[in-house]
Symmetry: C2
Subunit: 200 residues, 2 copies
């Protein structure tokens, strides 16, 4: 490389970001050096603080600065319902939709025995303990509609079998604004089976 | 936003990177927090050091940790020839090609009167001074083949008019490995005009 050690190290370090290869890292480094030094310094300090300061919420396992996260701590959130998601970005999508007002449990993954991820690794015991202690009436299993997500949902449902808890799964169907012609067969089958009277 | 202040600030800061919007910034932040904390800390310190430590080489204007950059300082580089490029990434591309062994001058831009970028802003006076003082015999104008790049090249050539200096421009033609059917008309015209005997 023709550059200075500092620039080389910056390019190399940027490659830790997902989807960033050599060329993109170079472009980012030059952009920051040419036109974004203040943004770069701000990013440096934000990274530094987040990498050392962000932990997992003791209650829902989501990322948090404090022992208990803002959602778990919020007294205005409804109790009695819990929504189980795989990742913080799933939680964020639900929060941005804005309709759901109760608590969460973030698995930070899904069951995947081949990768050594069992119930212990994604905190299912902690979830079951919480369901029991908080007297949860409805558990919404909002894991992804993938093989692993479905397996995780079924595992959790099996573990709660026999208890008087309503266990639900998000509805499948045609996305709002989607075009029928582009919807796959499985989704369409689900949409047909889940059809509702127009008056509802 | 549903997240902690530290995560929010990290997502917001990541948006200073070129081509990174809200969703990508979120994905990057979660990736670093979940699986790349050591990489994130390394990036923080690399950014911090580069933003404060990288300056411009006093000789060629390229990014450098020191007053004079590694290329300008290298006694093994040929003298008498100078290659003028618009940006550090252009220089890097030429260095990686590996054939050119003399010095550079990095304009860090091109003439663009509409944006207030004149000869002074891109260091043309400094370039002319260097050409004079170092007794440059050939000046390769490797600015981009765009309107602004061509204008910048012609401006530099005009300023050196009458002096006994060979001024050259990189050849236009079909990219090596390219297919004729996909080459645009201008490039093809240049390739025809610049055709050479097979024996060369």
């Amino acid at each position: 490389m023709a550059f200075s050690p500092l620039v080389d190290e910056l390019v190399e370090s940027l490659r830790c970001l997902p989807g960033v290869g050599q060329k993109t890292a170079q472009r980012m480094a030059f952009h920051l050096l040419e036109r974004g030094r203040s943004g770069g310094s701000r990013l440096a300090s934000a990274l530094d603080q987040a990498m050392s300061g962000v932990r997992r919420c003791d209650c829902c396992q989501n990322f948090s600065d404090t022992e208990i996260c803002q959602i778990c701590e919020n007294p205005e959130r409804q109790t009695g319902t819990l929504c189980v998601v795989e990742s913080p970005s799933d939680l964020l999508a639900i929060e941005q939709a804005g309709d759901y007002k109760a608590g969460y449990f973030v698995l930070m993954g899904h069951l995947s025995p081949i990768d050594g991820v069992g119930p212990e690794e994604i905190g299912i015991e902690r979830l079951l303990k919480r369901v029991h202690e908080e007297g949860i009436a409805e558990l919404i299993l909002a894991t992804n509609p993938t093989v692993e997500g479905e397996a995780t949902a079924h595992y959790i449902a099996d573990r709660l079998d026999g208890r008087n808890i309503l266990i639900t799964r998000l509805a499948h169907g045609i996305p709002v604004g989607g075009e029928l012609g582009y919807v796959d067969g499985f989704t369409l089958t689900h949409a047909f089976r889940g059809r509702k009277p127009l008056s509802e």
